[in-house]
């Protein structure tokens, strides 16, 4: 007699939960989790099997001749092949390993054998003009760049090397040196890597002249850039990103980002991640992007945002705005007068718009499946046609505001506060002084 095992239903539940979680939190890197943690499936699977066998043994039931059937072994082999495949692919993608060819890195090649971490200091310096162009080539680890009144480019920090023994780590340290090459106007910071299989990650602090332009190509880690007057470009793979007080245009093109924080950027801003694209003429205020939200407070348009899945909050913006949102709620509060054209398309999510009290504009809002709540009063009318609702109207003279929602509710109203809260705060501060 063959008793049904718990493993198959448990695997189904786990698979279902994983896909559900992936749908609910599309920005979490589930592929990475699977690539990293799949061996634990084997461990849990085996443990459940042993638990079952012990239970059968204790309740005096006959035991199967083999704890794992032939079919299950086939599944296990498939799991191992897919798991190692994903792991290798992921590791190449993140580029965390110093060795170059992916094929020598397959687990059964037996080359990876790294136990302990050894730290070594990093320091490099180079004279520079007032407005150098600096390229930071990819290395693994964190990077902080600060502009200051100086005419040298200075790098300090540490380098961590994983190796089996101290000798290997020291050899890897000697063979991998951070160097600044180029002339005073154009220089490159790179990690010169010698032969070796050690895994190196670094945490570097860089001081650059205020007028510098920066180009950072990253593989991993956090990036902080502040107080620079030139152009800033960040590309590659980044964990967390913080850019503030930059005078030149900022271009960010990253293929995975944790939290992104942008603040006080005087010039054009472009931000691109796999699921979100954003551009604006400037960010006098700040933008915060995490896995669930895209929050803007203080923005100069014309601005465009398209995102696959995020709740968008935009407050205090001027000039034209165009938003295309696949899934997520949209909250708009322009605050600034005069209003400019707003065009928003939302596939699935609620839209909430609060307009300044005495703004002139015309509006057309539609939702194919949802309700429209009209807080604009006279001059605006809501029509229903089955599940579709349309709001139309105008007040004074002004730009056109278009809201198109496929599935979700729309709420439009006028704000009682004409002034943003932070501007109200100033007079009070002067009174206190």
């Amino acid at each position: 007699m063959r008793r049904p095992s718990l493993v198959a239903p448990l695997l189904l539940i786990a698979l279902g939960a994983l896909f559900l979680a992936r749908n609910l939190y599309p920005n979490l890197p589930f592929g990475e989790y699977v690539a990293r943690y799949w061996p634990y499936i084997l461990i849990v699977w085996g443990a459940v099997r042993i638990g079952e066998i012990c239970y059968w043994a204790l309740t005096s039931k006959p035991l199967p001749a083999r704890g794992v059937s032939g079919g299950e072994w086939v599944l296990v082999i498939f799991l191992c092949l897919i798991g190692t495949g994903m792991h290798v692919a992921q590791r190449d993608f993140s580029g965390g390993w110093v060795t170059s060819s992916p094929w020598v890195r397959l687990p059964w090649a037996g080359i990876q054998g790294f136990g302990e971490r050894y730290d070594y200091p990093v320091s490099a310096e180079k004279a520079s003009s007032k407005t150098p162009r600096i390229v930071i080539e990819d290395f693994r680890g964190n990077l902080q760049i600060t502009g200051s009144d100086t005419d040298v480019v200075k790098v300090t920090g540490r380098k961590s090397i994983r190796a089996m023994e101290k000798n290997g780590a020291e050899r890897a340290d000697r063979n991998s040196v951070f160097e600044i090459t180029g002339d005073t106007n154009e220089m490159t910071l790179r990690l010169r890597e010698g032969a070796g299989f050690a895994r190196i990650s670094s945490a570097l602090e860089m001081t650059v002249p205020k007028g510098a332009s920066l180009e950072a190509k990253r593989r991993d880690g956090a990036v902080h850039i502040s107080n620079v007057q030139g152009a800033v470009a960040v590309s590659g793979r980044v964990a967390d990103l913080d850019v503030h007080d930059v005078g030149g245009p900022v271009t960010i093109d990253v293929n995975f980002a944790g939290d992104v924080q942008l603040k006080n950027l005087a010039n054009a801003v472009r931000l691109k991640t796999p699921r979100t694209e954003f551009s604006a003429a400037g960010v006098p205020g700040e933008i915060h992007v995490d896995s669930g939200d895209f929050k803007v407070d203080g923005l100069t348009g014309p601005a465009r945002l398209s995102s696959r899945s995020r709740d968008v909050h935009m407050r205090d913006f001027r000039n034209a705005l165009e938003i295309d949102l696949e899934r997520g709620d949209l909250n708009l509060e322009p605050l600034q007068l005069p209003l400019a054209r707003i065009q928003a398309t939302v596939r699935s999510g609620d839209v909430n718009v609060v307009l300044p009290e005495n703004a002139g504009f015309s509006m057309k809002a539609t939702t194919k499946s949802g309700e429209i709540s009209n807080g604009l009063g006279a001059g605006f009318k809501v029509d229903s046609d089955g599940r579709k609702q349309t709001l139309q109207g105008a007040t004074g003279t002004g730009p056109e505001i278009t809201l198109e929602v496929e599935r979700g509710n729309v709420s439009v109203s006028r704000g009682s506060n004409k002034l943003p809260a932070k501007e109200v705060a100033h007079p009070l501060e002067t009174i206190n002084q």
Partner: protein, 70 residues
């Protein structure tokens, strides 16, 4: 034979079939642990795979010893 062992004392079954039954799951767990070590501790599977052979051999030995007992 199984029923005899069960009726005599609290030891549920004879050891041989039990060891044979858990052989597969134990090897599976060891496989999982070796891959997990590769990814988290950096001790490569390419270095540790012989442990699988050792464990399989040990399980066979234990199974045989159990079967050989009266």
């Amino acid at each position: 034979m199984d029923t005899d062992v069960r009726s005599n004392n609290n030891v549920p079954v004879a050891r041989a079939p039990f060891v044979a039954a858990i052989r597969g799951p134990v090897i599976m767990i060891v496989l999982g642990v070796l891959f997990a070590l590769d990814y988290s501790a950096g001790i490569g599977f390419g270095k540790t795979w012989p442990i699988l052979l050792i464990v399989a051999g040990l399980l066979h030995l234990i199974g045989r010893a159990g079967a050989g007992q009266p």
